[in-house]
Structure formats: structure tokens, C-alpha cells
Symmetry: C2
Subunit: 189 residues, 2 copies
């Protein structure tokens, strides 16, 4: 998606160590118009997978997932990292390593909103090592749901997450796939 | 906003102790079409305040804030509760008591995205005791920004948060103001 690639080149920053700073338009400050267009593009790419629900993880997956849900006419569930008091005692829970926190975080979904038979499309901001998305995959599988696709705004190809998801045999779409980040230079696939 | 009130009556649950469960359409599972309409309504109500930025708090403020930002053509900043590694060392930080966590949480905004002179519209899911919103107000004031309005999806009138915000002398809009919750009955103002 050219709009997103252009924005990454304009406002993204390579902080070194594989860390891409995009908090000016994705994960601290959000550009709603860009997210709207990204959601429209995901809806186009996944229009034929027969999804019945979108699954993402708080926090930075919420904006692109909600915009995708808007364009596809689907509800969005975001896995919580802390169990709120409004959630029942029986939940689906898995652990996933957090890239930016340097420790394991919980991913929790209420069985009220992820049921067997649902056809789940996962939307998130990043596909890097694939760890968070594999956590979402485990949640969906535990619920007895069927995975039908995975979409991320930005893929860091060099972190190899896509390989870990290939066994699922479902479409994996990223709107901007970064092959290399060297100094000031960000190269797309 | 009748659409939201109807949805609260249909899918909201009074869990007792002033806790309203709306995690089927706002803060775990999200209804994107409802959020889109809520964003449009906030845009209508705040069209004349001259906002230049929308400020919210992660997590459940993100969906309504991003949809409001979409309709108003404004960027959205969400205050983070944990400082990510992509954020500079100098930040705006305040503490606010969390209703659902029973402890203080940090609200952190990077000075990169909240500058003096900005005209800030706060959008969040709930106005209850007003504690989280007062935290956002402190962040905006510390940044030297001007507050121009506060909008929330649901106001729990009986928790009195509005009183604590009146000294700001800015428009405060809630799309569904709940006067009483008794047993199964939820009454709007």
C-alpha cells in the first residue's frame, strides 16, 4: 500500500536493533485517515475469506482492526493484557513475549466473544517475530474457531515471523513489507 | 444518541457496585459501525470548538477517539500506561486512579505529540468519577495546550465526574448519560 510506505519513509525512524519508530501515525499518535484507508485495503484483500470476526491485541492493533471491521461489517475483539473485572472467571489465556517490554505478557479473550465455528481474521500493526500473532492464533484455536487470514500494517521481513505462520496455510497480507533497515535507509520488498 | 442508548439497554449489563458491562460492543468486543456513528456525532457536537488534536487514554478510548478523529480530520494521541522503548526519556506523566484495576496507573504522553498551543479535545469511553479525564486534563495543561472540549460515550451521572470538570468551563458532551442503575433497570437522563 503506497500511502503507508510513503508515510513510513516520511515519518518512520529506524532506532536501531530492528526497532522502527512509527509512533507519529500508528502507535501513540494515530492518523485516523491513514487507518481508514488501511482498513479499506485489508477489506479488499480479505473480501473472499468469509471472516465472521476480527481478532487483534491491545493496544496498537485496535485502530487498524476497528477500521477493517468497519469496512467489512464485522465485530472486532481485542485480546486484553490484563483481565478487567467485567470479564468472567473462565477465559482463554495465553502468554506471548513482548518485543517492546522485554517480558512475557498475557493475552486474554472472554469465551463470550470468541466461539467455536467463528471464522477469524487476525489484524495487527506489526508482523515481526510473529510471537504476538502466534499468541492470537493459539487463542482462536483454543476457542475452536477457524483462522481465515492474517493482516498486518507493517511486516519486518528480516525478523522471519511469516515462516512461523506458514503452516496455517492461510493468506498473510502486510501493507508495507520492510526488507532491510540500515541507518537512515528503509527498503521495502 | 439514541443508537448508543438502545445498545446499552440491549447488551449492557449492570454488574452492581456501579459497574456497567459494555464489553460486547465497546471495551473488549467493539462494534465498529457503532463507533463510526459515535465519532460522527462527536464531530457534529464539537465542530465549532476549533480543536487541533484529539487526546484519549489507552485502551478503550482508542476506538471512539480514532473514529472522531476520522470525522474531524484530526490526529489522535492516546496516553500510554507504560512507556514504550520508542518514546523519548523526557515525557509528560501523571497518575490517575483506575476504577477497574483498583490502583494508580500512569498516563504518559510524549512531548513530540502534545505541544503548547494545541487545542485539545478529549474523547474517552466513560465519564464516571472523572479521574482518568482529569489525568488527561493535567497532561494537556502541562504541555501548555488549550482544552476545548470533553466527549465521552457513556456518562455515569451518579458518580459525579462532571462536577470535577466544570471549572474548565468547556463543553462536556456524553452520548448516553445514565442517571440510575438499579437491578436490571438502566435509566437515562
Amino acid at each position: 500500500m503506497q500511502l503507508l510506505k510513503d508515510r513510513i519513509l516520511k515519518d518512520g525512524k529506524n532506532l536501531g536493533g530492528g526497532i522502527l519508530k512509527v509512533d507519529g501515525f500508528i502507535n501513540h499518535q494515530v492518523d485516523p485517515a491513514l487507518m481508514f484507508e488501511a482498513g479499506k485495503e485489508f477489506a479488499r484483500r480479505f473480501q473472499h475469506v468469509g471472516a465472521t470476526k476480527i481478532l487483534t491485541a491491545e493496544i496498537s492493533g485496535i485502530a487498524p482492526a476497528v477500521m477493517t471491521g468497519y469496512h467489512m461489517g464485522l465485530p472486532v475483539v481485542y485480546a486484553r493484557k490484563h483481565k478487567p473485572i467485567t470479564m468472567p472467571d473462565q477465559v482463554f489465556l495465553t502468554l506471548a513475549p513482548s518485543h517492546t517490554k522485554g517480558r512475557m505478557v498475557e493475552l486474554i479473550v472472554s469465551p463470550e466473544f470468541l466461539a467455536g465455528g467463528e471464522r477469524v481474521l487476525i489484524i495487527d500493526d506489526f508482523l515481526a517475530s510473529g510471537a504476538t500473532i502466534l499468541g492470537l492464533v493459539r487463542l482462536a484455536e483454543t476457542a475452536g474457531a477457524v483462522l481465515v487470514g492474517i493482516g498486518t500494517l507493517i511486516e519486518k521481513v528480516f525478523e522471519g515471523g511469516r515462516k512461523k505462520l506458514e503452516h496455517l496455510n492461510i493468506p498473510i497480507e502486510s501493507l508495507a513489507a520492510i526488507e532491510r533497515m540500515e541507518g537512515e535507509v528503509i527498503s521495502f520488498q
